[in-house]
């Protein structure tokens, strides 16, 4: 059990019971707010959980479940995932998908399939797209291999700099929402690191000693 006491310039000192700080930090990383629930700091636990998870899932929704994925494929080194992983278990499907698809397998939780348009595919508005979402209407008798969009799975197929690919399709389909979704999920992951810090060492409250020291320093100048 670890207790931290913050002396206040006015009023009673604030006592925070961190219990087992390393266990609390691990729980806080795994699920936003869980570490604070473990420390019985329920109000802050709820606050962290609601704030962090709401923007994470809002971002995930903006990007239609495609903005959180792990990939080190050439042309698609997803550095953003390192920040998103700060939220712990909510990104676990992305790791499972990366493991599942690393040997070239299909992702789980397939949301749609795409296929290359056949040479004689009728030109229609938007037909400049390289791959089409398969629906009964536009499958048009195509029976070849498809590229599958999985929930939190990396885009299938090669990612090429100057050619159309599935990642390009995602940007085309979801426009600014893809980038906003990425931003929201990154911010959620980074905010959870603040919550982990708070669970591990307690809040960064300015104590009366620190306030005195700051005032002394100001006077000495």
């Amino acid at each position: 059990m670890t207790e931290v006491v913050y002396n206040q310039p006015d009023g009673d000192p604030i006592v925070v019971d961190l219990r087992e700080p390393s266990r609390a930090a691990l729980l806080a990383w795994m699920w936003p707010g869980a570490g604070h629930f473990y420390q019985r700091r329920f109000a802050k636990g709820f606050l962290f959980m609601i704030c962090i998870l709401s923007i994470f899932f809002f971002g995930l929704g903006l990007g239609r479940g495609r903005v959180v994925y792990a990939s080190t494929k050439p042309g698609d080194y997803r550095w953003q995932f390192a920040c998103q992983a700060g939220i712990g278990l909510p990104v676990a499907p992305a790791i499972l998908q990366a493991v599942k698809t690393s040997a070239g397998g299909d992702p789980m939780f397939v949301m749609c399939e795409r296929f290359p348009p056949p040479p004689n595919y009728p030109k229609a508005k938007g037909s400049e797209r390289a791959f089409y979402r398969i629906t009964p209407q536009n499958r048009n008798g195509y029976d070849g291999p498809t590229l599958k969009d999985g929930f939190m799975a990396a885009p299938q197929g090669p990612i090429l700099q100057n050619e159309r690919d599935v990642l390009g399709m995602w940007h085309f389909d979801y426009k600014h929402n893809f980038d906003l979704g990425t931003l929201f999920t990154i911010v959620a992951g980074l905010l959870n690191l603040l919550a982990v810090y708070d669970a591990y060492v307690g809040p960064a409250i300015v104590t009366s000693e620190q306030l005195d020291a700051a005032n002394r320093k100001k006077r000495d100048r």
Binding site: Y6, I14, V16, R41, A43, K44, L47, F48, C51, I52, S54, I55, F58, G61, H176, L180, L183, F184, V187, A188, L191, L194, A195, Y197, D198, G202, P203, A204, I205
Partner: protein, 72 residues
Amino acid sequence: MVHTMLILIAAATPVPKLWYALPLIVSISLVYGATRHEHLKPILIHSLRSAIWVTGFMAVIFAVIWLAGFWN
């Protein structure tokens, strides 16, 4: 449902994409405030100050970019 409502609210404004900043500012301010205090009241006061500061900072950046638009 909430998402649809947010999109409708956003579509009704002349600067719809700016609405996306709102949940970010609220969450960042609250989480930052919570790492600086233990009790709810000081957390909320600190969050309000942070939110005002972030919004002010965004307004300054907006003004700089807007003025830069006249630089021709």
